[in-house]
């Protein structure tokens, strides 16, 4: 087993752990924006698609890569836009109806 692979396994484990810790703290209120956000962020597979589309490895690879770039960019653009649109809708109520007991969120 190469040392690169070993390091990658460590990265995977630690990132998974960080993910569990961080995401468990996200309230159900924001679970739909969370899914849209992870969708947008998962567009990072673009970095792999770019390398395939741009490295001139032959017609087939270029076509597959270009489609992959299109899919990933669609996720990045659409994902960030819709997450922002959604989060912009979450507003706190104006002070009038705050009667003390619901200020603890």
């Amino acid at each position: 087993m190469s040392s690169t692979l070993m390091i990658q396994l460590f990265v995977f484990m630690l990132a998974g752990f960080v993910g569990f810790q961080t995401i468990s703290r996200i309230p159900p209120l924001l679970h739909t924006p969370l899914m849209a956000a992870t969708n947008a962020i998962s567009g990072i597979s673009l970095v792999a698609s770019l390398a395939v589309a741009g490295s001139a490895q032959g017609v087939l690879a270029t076509i597959l890569g270009t489609i992959a770039v299109g899919c990933a960019v669609a996720n990045v653009v659409g994902g960030f836009l819709i997450t922002d649109r959604m989060l912009a809708m979450f507003r706190r109520s104006k002070d009038k109806s705050n009667r003390g007991e619901n200020g603890n969120d």
Partner: protein
């Protein structure tokens, strides 16, 4: 030098993504957090364009423009009610990108670079998970969009067949690791995985979709992790792990809220859930009916009102009417809160988004555990299009198929008004004792129309 620069940019991107997820922990910071995530994405993409492997940019530009043209409407024009299918659709996109990269990398390495066992394993999992997620997500999309019948499509030995197919794929993968140059096997894996994706989602009914959409999120993330292993890219491993963890956590939360076991979710075996209801005979005699005028009168003079929106409200798209009714009650001095069950709506947290869009401030959207402590001081609970999530049998009747499912304890409040289309049963087919409770009165009719009627009467009261 360039390589160091690229890796450093990825490090920055990873940091920004994790901070973004942290910021999503609170609605006030969430939006800002996502802006930094978008910045992280930009940094990562620009850095990648400097990679030595990339020698032509025409095709990249073509793909990017096409993607942006498709992505913009997906981001700006899709209505909030269509979020579940929108998300399922983009899972398919993400997984398709992973699968295509996997195929291209395999063919490339096959041609010149050669394949180590580790690389082959990663590529194998990449196309396996990728292809499965592509077809699964498209199926989920079609069901949610109503292109396919939402009801479960089942046949005998379905789970057995899926399992056999999965074992078959894994055996092929092992053969391929032993001899990476069997191109035919590689494409058989892609095709069989795609078929598994279809047959995995086929038996799942519309109301189970929150679990499925989360699970596909997780699979898409794991496909990205496999890509990262295959092409030695840490940022892909990190983001894929975050994505996978997110989908995993959400599917567990959803399955818990729907009373399904963990393993049931993990292996996607929801097909066995079509339980025939037991003990369907009602115990409590007659439902008490109420007119819109009387119900409105009670709401108009109530001090504390809790609205319990359910799947039916989302189907009727009556969230604006619910908010208008709430506003009118508040104008008369009452206090209105909204009780959100985790599986209200069609995906995790969907009901919150629908109500937020209708203009309900988020601090009035109260989660199940918190609102359950408040029902005993509630004057009127208004149940709109919810059934199983308010069924007391979940807590009291061990023979009930939904026993153990966490519910909203609306019967703790002083009185309950249930807005319901007819006398039928909920998704689980279980009779709901709440409807026969002495505190409960029923207002029959279409949810949207009933809410409009109530609002008119409250205004006039």
């Amino acid at each position: 030098m360039t390589e160091t620069f690229i890796q450093f940019a990825y490090l920055v991107a990873a940091f920004l993504f994790i901070t973004a997820l942290r910021a999503l922990g609170h609605p006030d910071s969430a939006r800002r957090g996502m802006h930094s995530a978008a910045l992280g994405m930009l940094v990562a993409i620009i850095a990648t364009l400097f990679e030595a492997r990339i020698i032509t940019y025409e095709w990249i530009a073509l793909g990017a423009v096409a993607g942006a043209v498709v992505g913009y409407p997906l981001g700006m024009w899709v209505p909030m009610t269509a979020m579940p299918q929108r998300i399922a659709f983009s899972h398919a996109f993400g997984a398709l990108a992973a699968t295509l990269v996997g195929v291209a990398e395999y063919l490339h390495s096959y041609g010149e670079a050669g394949l180590s066992a580790a690389q082959m394993t990663a590529l194998g999992f990449e196309v396996l998970l990728g292809a499965l997620t592509v077809t699964g997500s498209i199926m989920a999309f079609a069901k949610l969009q109503g292109l396919l019948p939402g009801r479960p499509v089942t046949f005998r030995f379905q789970n057995m067949l899926n399992l056999v197919a999965l074992v078959f794929v894994v055996i092929l993968l092992m053969a391929l690791i032993y001899d990476p140059y069997r191109v035919d096997l590689f494409f058989v894996i892609v095709c069989v995985s795609a078929a598994i994706g279809i047959s995995l989602i086929l038996p799942i009914g519309g109301a189970d979709m929150p679990v499925v959409v989360s699970l596909l999120n997780s699979y898409a993330g794991l496909a990205a992790v496999a890509t990262g292993f295959a092409i030695n890219n840490n940022i892909l491993i990190i983001v894929g792990a975050l994505d996978g963890a997110s989908g995993f956590i959400l599917s567990i939360a959803m399955s818990r809220a729907m009373n399904r076991s963990f393993s049931n979710v993990l292996f996607g075996a929801f097909g066995s859930s079509s339980v025939v209801a037991t003990g369907t005979e009602s115990e409590g005699g007659e439902m008490a009916q109420v007119s819109a005028e009387d119900a409105a009168l009670r709401l108009a003079f109530a001090g504390k009102v809790v609205v319990v929106p359910g799947y039916g409200l989302a189907v009727a798209q009556a969230q604006h009417q619910a908010r208008e009714l709430g506003d009118l009650i508040e104008k008369r001095g009452g206090e209105v809160r909204y009780a959100i069950h985790p599986v209200a709506g069609r995906m995790p947290g969907h009901m919150n988004v629908l109500l937020a869009e209708a203009g309900v401030p988020y601090d009035k959207l109260i989660e199940m555990d918190e609102i359950n402590e408040r029902f005993h001081e509630t004057d009127v609970a208004v149940v709109v299009g919810a059934n199983d999530v308010v069924n007391p049998a979940a807590g009291s009747n061990p023979a009930s198929p939904i026993y153990g499912m966490p519910i909203l304890n609306v019967s703790d409040s002083r009185s309950v008004i249930v807005l319901k289309r007819g006398t039928g049963r909920g998704f689980s087919g279980v009779e709901n004792d709440l409807f026969f409770h002495s505190k409960t009165t029923m207002l029959f009719g279409d949810a949207k129309q009933s809410l409009i009627d109530l609002a008119v009467e409250v205004k006039g009261a």
